[in-house]
């Protein structure tokens, strides 16, 4: 079984049970007047469904398009994504455009059932009525897949949807995207994509103890629950975020999956493969322009748990790390850590290696990885896995080395951290 893009917030449900405030009254925008031919509308909807990456969760790999059934594992049980194909009995073929918009905008299913926030309706609420109608038209044009939705297997009390009322009161702010009149058209388009369909905040904003996200920490990065990958900060903070990345570095990374600064891996490889590589240059550039405008707050600190180590352990592992690097890594990443970009990413001055959390570099050494094969990079170079070759101590040593050599300002890592990640879900 494939391990899915994980979901978030079930911790909050117990607390949410205490909160019984009713969901706020809704205002619905009227349906947009139809423009252009129906075929154009469907094509637009297909594109927007790419931008929203619907396929990633609603299609089993190599399975029937939008047939759902993908298992989403959480600490509280397993969710199964629903069928969103045009099948009238088991998909959304019988839904109206109004019902579809209400689902995206309010997080309620056709019968009024509250959706679990695994469905990113807190982002999709920003989608315009016109775009919702286009996505609706596209989904209605897809092959009907007759596949009955599988029941979630959440444990009590997480299977009580009434608990979601509290979560929504705390963390759901309904409303379409409102363009900022003081910003450019390009910035507003980028903001719309990032905050709405792109649902970037689902991974790139840390989850608090109640399973919600805090606006003050928006896009400052966070550990993705269950998957054990760290989604880095997207702000302009020099230490943790996009800092001195150029627009071209960002667009290259999002469209090709590789750049001079680094490659996408882990869950982001899927996002580039399924979504970003299919978007227009203009839209990806708009995303980059918006991200570059996110302020690098002086108050932003990397609040993820620091890698743990003892001075004694670090001293013991340090010389070993240099030796392993020379023997195993330098052939591609170069003696000075400058790499051979874009095929072999640089490790020197690479933020994703130096963050407080050492989860990403440890996992890359353990499991290796291929960036996604994209239109712009159809035959990517791959990082070898070392789990089968190196011991916990050896991996801790070499990760410590790359986090602290060449001016990198990461901290050492311990054997214990490496060992814990050997059992992290791969897939």
């Amino acid at each position: 079984m494939r391990k899915l893009r994980s979901l978030i917030p079930f911790v909050p449900l117990v607390f949410a049970a205490l909160c019984t405030a009713p969901v706020r009254a809704q205002t619905e925008s009227p349906p947009a007047p139809a423009t252009g031919s129906h075929a154009e509308l469907i094509a637009k909807g297909e594109y927007l469904a790419r931008a929203g990456d619907c396929i990633a969760c609603h299609t089993i790999p190599a399975g029937k398009l939008f047939g759902g059934g993908r298992a989403m594992e959480t600490p509280f049980g397993t969710l199964y994504t629903p069928n969103i194909s045009s099948d009238k009995a088991t998909g959304i073929g019988a839904w109206s455009a109004d019902e579809f918009y209400r689902m995206l905008h309010e997080g309620k299913s056709r019968d009024g059932t509250l959706l679990y926030p695994a469905m990113p309706f807190a982002s999709y609420t920003k989608v315009t009525r016109a775009d919702s109608d286009a996505i609706y038209a596209f989904l209605q044009s897809t092959q009907p897949i007759h596949q009955v939705n599988r029941e979630h297997t959440l444990r009590f009390p997480y299977n009580q949807r009434s608990l979601l009322i509290g979560w929504r009161t705390l963390y759901f702010r309904q409303g379409e995207f409102q363009p900022s009149p003081t910003q450019s058209v390009e910035w507003n388009r980028g903001a719309y994509l990032v905050l709405g369909l792109g649902h970037c905040t689902m991974c790139h904003t840390s989850i608090n103890a109640l399973g919600g996200t805090s606006l003050s920490k928006e896009f400052q990065g966070g550990l993705i629950p269950m998957q054990n990958w760290y989604a880095p900060s997207l702000t302009s903070n020099r230490e943790a975020g996009l800092g001195d990345w150029s627009i071209e570095d960002i667009t290259g990374l999002l469209r090709a999956g590789i750049s001079k600064r680094g490659a996408v891996y882990g869950p982001m490889a899927e996002v580039v493969f399924d979504s970003f590589q299919h978007l227009t240059d203009d839209d990806v550039r708009a995303v980059a322009v918006y991200l570059k405008s996110l302020p690098g707050k002086a108050s932003e600190v990397d609040t993820s748990p620091r890698s743990t180590y003892t001075t004694e352990e670090a001293a013991r592992l340090a010389p070993l790390g240099g030796k392993i690097y020379a023997a195993q890594c330098a052939i591609c990443h170069a003696t000075g850590g400058q790499g051979k970009p874009p095929a072999f990413p640089p490790l020197a001055n690479n933020q994703s290696i130096q963050m407080n959390s050492a989860v990403n570099p440890i996992r890359m050494v353990l499991n290796g990885g291929y960036p996604p094969g994209t239109h712009l990079n159809p035959a990517p170079y791959g990082m070898p896995p070392f789990a089968q070759l190196l011991s916990d101590a050896e991996i801790a040593a070499v990760v410590t080395y790359i986090r602290t050599a060449w001016g990198n300002h990461g901290t050492p890592v311990s054997e214990r951290e490496v060992n814990a990640l050997r059992s992290a879900p791969l897939f």
Binding site: P61, G368, G369, P380, Y381
Partner: protein, 208 residues
Amino acid sequence: MEHAPDTMQARVLACAACHGEHGEGTDNDYFPRLAGKPAGYLFNQLIAFRDGGRSYPPMNYLLAYLPDAYLKQIAEHFAEQRPPYPPPAAPRVDAATLALGRQLVTNGAPDRKLPACAACHGTGLTGMRPAIPGLVGLHADYISAQLGAFRYGTRHTASPNCMHDISSHLTDREITAIAAWLAAQPGPADPTPAAPSHLPLACGSVPN
């Protein structure tokens, strides 16, 4: 700034870590030889690992976002490799078991309508183009694990799954015998897979 070599070999370093620089395999029982297996077979396996037909998380993870065209290039790369075979393993079974293995591999069990391995995998056991793998140069534990995976349905192929049918009719001792005898064979003088010919049974992964 130095650039990475624009070669397949540099692109598949991620494979070499377990399967050897030229796909020769390693001394780990579960990292099989890839070199010289027909490209169609290797391509089918890469697709199966990517899409879930074969379940081995480290492989499923590595291939998840690689497109068909690139997997085909990877398959062709390893199909063209001709590294030397490792020396055969000393058998860990008794002579009678080894003889049983030889009998099943070369003659099958006609009374039970079980074809010989060699009928499809080539008289030299180097596989058959386009999509049947060679059986030489593999570890006994790897072979028996694959037969078990076929039998219990954890290794899927396109239907009809001929290897599921065959492995379901083999006893545990027969699987041990086949694996032990195959692993004890020296590398063939000519590692080229056999030309396509008529198969004794229908296999979904091999176009007929």
